[in-house]
Symmetry: C2
């Protein structure tokens, strides 16, 4: 295989092959994620794309490049789907709540859907670059945020800085293990010399003293900061291990959200000015194909092609296409008439979606920065709020919107079942336990409950291991002339990368089927 | 004590008292770090300030507000001292190397001196805000950078992603400790119930499986990334613990630089456009007091006031002042005539300064981002380079400058003793072991060896515990009419915060002495 064909193939495969390329030291001369399919004889054929989220618009964008005629039907009067930023004037209703309108100050926003881009989601990064969407760091890791446990332990109902818990736990665990290794209480399987190196590592990792004990450590911050002259800084004693435990700070409420996970490791990015800038940039490229306010009511495979019935302000319409790409979230698709196979139908009806919600709270002062030196990052709590996200933009400016909660599952269901006013009240009341500045500084709120958003009806697909073998697989093949795409057709559920990867995958499949060009990737050519 | 007087006192004390204020829930109505000294009868008195670094300029800025007449003598033809960004046209000589000029592209720069602002350095943040210097996140933590050990182990002479070492070590250590706790091989002093919670914590912390064993984990990245369709992602096996050890990846070369330290924990910031923007903003405020190109040769305490002798292009001059604030780095001051006390004189001559150097390498392509998905952060190596810093600005743009090395002590001495060309050659040769793109993409270099920079002669003061009791204390009191300031008069050596804190401290001391206002902080007043 020539270098060029290797690269072309890798690009077509998406991000997955990239580490392999690096391993082979095949550093690309062309942009890493150029999608170089060659136009074929399918040009002019009509592809109906359902949903103008990132997956649908990306598929339309790529297929249009290849000469296909695309129509995107989007039920909402906006594009982007879950890639949605709430700003002044944003108006939306929920299934059980009437429309609300956001009254945030100009320039302020929050991302109701995806808010973070991992650096290794290369297709997301690629499209931001290709579409000219500027990125900025999303500061996901911040040791100065809080753990706040409602409960009965001595550290409960207090805000404890993340750095205190992190370093105390590392310290105590390293001390315990160092003792066990030192006294040969645990079999490391190492030589004495290597065990000594592990001991030195534990001392460094845990911030232990010369006797390998964990005592006061600057890593967990100061009672009184060091400064000029005689101000050497005053350290506090670590929290007691039993206090950390009995206050619930080791509970899954806190440790299931570890920033160790691959997707949440720094470096992370966000689109400057709101994640919806990605959707808006795509929208510009596919404007000619786009029909907003067009709600699909039926999808019918025909002997040749596909028929889609949709309604808009003018009435009900039929649209005929050669092929269809359906990116509708499964709970939405479940309410659409179709003649799909039993396997596909079951997948549509039975794959569960996460319940999740966010509230944006605008404050007239960035007290979390001014008073508490919290710049970005996440405070974790075991109450309904689950997480408070501090904004990673406009640091040190006057006003700001923070995410008053970002919760999931049972907690999100409970909060989602409230009215907007009740959600706001809950966010303010529980938030004030952590930030007493809330009552005096609060200005505006806007909440989103994804399971109640028409045309979404959930956060993202939640596959169990069994579902991946059954329902998931059913959606990977086309049902006759209908292809499925969207985050739910990937192993990157919940991420924008899932939309992009699925769009590429479905584009390649559609093109391969409609084009007479049997060899998509030329294997000849100069290198 | 009234709330207002508490706040005024806290502000004067600097950042140290701030956590206490928070603890007392005294959230300030006024800006946290307003420096509200009241003008006194000292107005118009003449303060001679030696050095136009951040400490000297900040002292002049604050004293001028109080009505003093300041003269800043600065030997260099620029302000900022070690707060220095290298950009196109920057020209400078070293003590043993003739002048070099930087030929970087416009808009590209690197910070030769301080490059990071911890979020808890509140005075630094305060002055950036007050002076209108925009800040942006300095992305100090990046799990996608490398560990590169020159050596003989199986992981030597290879680039290993930081996330692999971090997660493998957390995994192995958690597994070992979980085993010891589970089998009661180590005395935790905990109840069974609490020990079970620790076991669950270890499972979460180490990414252990259900049997509390560390196996393949997505936290350490994928061999093949997950994607659309059947691409579930392929995990690699962890590195073997013995391989990590024998390859030197637990050596202090790697673990002394832990990002766990309080000063290097995220969130970190940098001044947008170069750290010298802070110096330039201060320079504007003190321009009327500033004499550049004025090299001090003698400082003489007089029965009344102080006499400073300096030379400039026009010749030698005498300047008389009521008081003097000397911010010259000690190795520089050591070459100036003075009539200080024996204690002060010894401190000036004997406090060691760190040897440290950086090289900025401009590349025509940001290959570390495009090919290797490294956005900011630091690669660590045990060779002379010590660290490679990737830029935290202009992500995804065309060109970039990375720090080819940032080293200290013996390694910095060795590299500093080379010519500019030899340093460049070393940086390129060693750097190419990690980034084979170096030879084809390299364009320009500029290196700085701080111990060879005239008027600096070192990186920062390196006090041992004993020095803090003797030499350090000698510099905290004025020597008759001469006060000392700069990072070397603080417990924040090496940080810009040291300059700011010392400037405030010396301003308060000078003002207290010259003003007839015995109570600086009014204890009456409305709250």
């Amino acid at each position: 295989m020539s270098r060029r064909s290797f690269l072309a193939r890798s690009a077509a495969l998406g991000a997955g092959a990239y580490p392999a390329m690096l391993a082979l030291n095949l550093l690309p001369a062309a942009p890493a994620h150029a999608f170089d399919l060659q136009p074929g004889s399918g040009q002019g054929k009509h592809i109906i794309i359902l949903g103008a989220g990132l997956a649908g618009m990306t598929a339309a964008y790529e297929l249009t490049k290849l000469g296909y005629r695309c129509t995107i039907l989007e039920a909402r009067t906006r594009t982007g789907g879950r890639c949605w930023s709430i700003r002044n004037g944003t108006a939306a209703a929920e299934t059980t709540n009437a429309a609300q309108t956001a009254h945030f100050d100009n320039g302020l926003y929050f991302n109701a859907g995806p808010s973070r881009i991992p650096h290794h989601h290369q297709l997301t990064m690629h499209y931001c670059k290709e579409l000219g969407v500027p990125l900025e760091v999303y500061n996901n890791v911040n040791e100065n945020t809080y753990y706040y446990a409602e409960g009965k332990g001595p550290l409960s109902n207090k805000k404890v800085r993340a750095r205190e818990v992190h370093n105390d736990m590392r310290g105590y665990m390293s001390e315990l293990l160092a003792k066990a290794v030192d006294q040969h209480q645990v079999n490391t399987g190492l030589t004495t010399e290597d065990a000594d190196k592990v001991l030195e590592y534990l001392r460094a990792e845990g911030g232990l003293d010369i006797d390998k004990l964990y005592k006061a450590s600057a890593r967990r911050g100061y009672l009184e900061a060091p400064g000029a002259g005689e101000k050497a800084g005053k350290l506090a004693n670590p929290h007691k291990l039993v206090d950390i435990i009995s206050s619930g700070l080791l509970d899954p409420d806190f440790y299931n959200v570890a920033e160790y996970s691959y997707e949440l490791q720094m470096t992370m990015f966000q689109a400057a000015g709101g994640m919806d800038q990605i959707a808006k940039a795509l929208e510009k490229r596919v404007a000619a194909s786009l029909q907003l306010g067009a709600e699909v009511t039926a999808i019918q495979n025909q002997p040749e092609g596909v028929k889609v019935i949709y309604k808009d302000q003018k009435g009900t319409h039929e649209l005929l296409g050669d092929l269809c790409i359906c990116t509708l979230p499964l709970p939405v698709l479940s309410n659409v008439n179709h003649n799909f196979s039993a396997d596909v139908s079951r997948a549509i009806d039975f794959v569960p979606y996460i319940q999740t919600g966010k509230i944006g709270l605008q404050f007239k002062r960035r007290f979390w920065e001014e008073d508490e030196q919290i710049f970005g990052g996440i405070t974790h709590t075991n109450n309904e709020l689950t997480q408070i996200f501090y904004p990673s933009y406009d640091y040190l400016s006057k006003k700001g919107i923070l995410l008053g909660y970002y919760n999931f599952n049972e907690k999100a269901k409970k909060v989602g079942d409230l009215t907007y006013a009740e959600r706001q009240q809950l966010a303010l009341q529980k938030g004030a336990l952590i930030h007493p500045q809330y009552p005096t500084e609060f200005e505006q709120a806007f909440s989103v409950s994804w399971q109640k958003q028409p045309y979404s009806l959930g956060g993202w697909a939640l596959y169990g291991a069994d579902d991946r073998k059954t329902h998931y697989r059913a959606l990977l093949k086309p049902d006759k002339n209908v292809y499925f795409a969207g985050e739910h057709t990937t192993y990157l559920t919940a991420w924008m990368a899932g939309a992009f990867e699925s769009a590429r995958s479905v584009t390649a499949a559609v093109h391969s089927r409609l084009s007479d060009q049997h060899t998509i990737y030329p294997t000849t050519g100069t290198n």
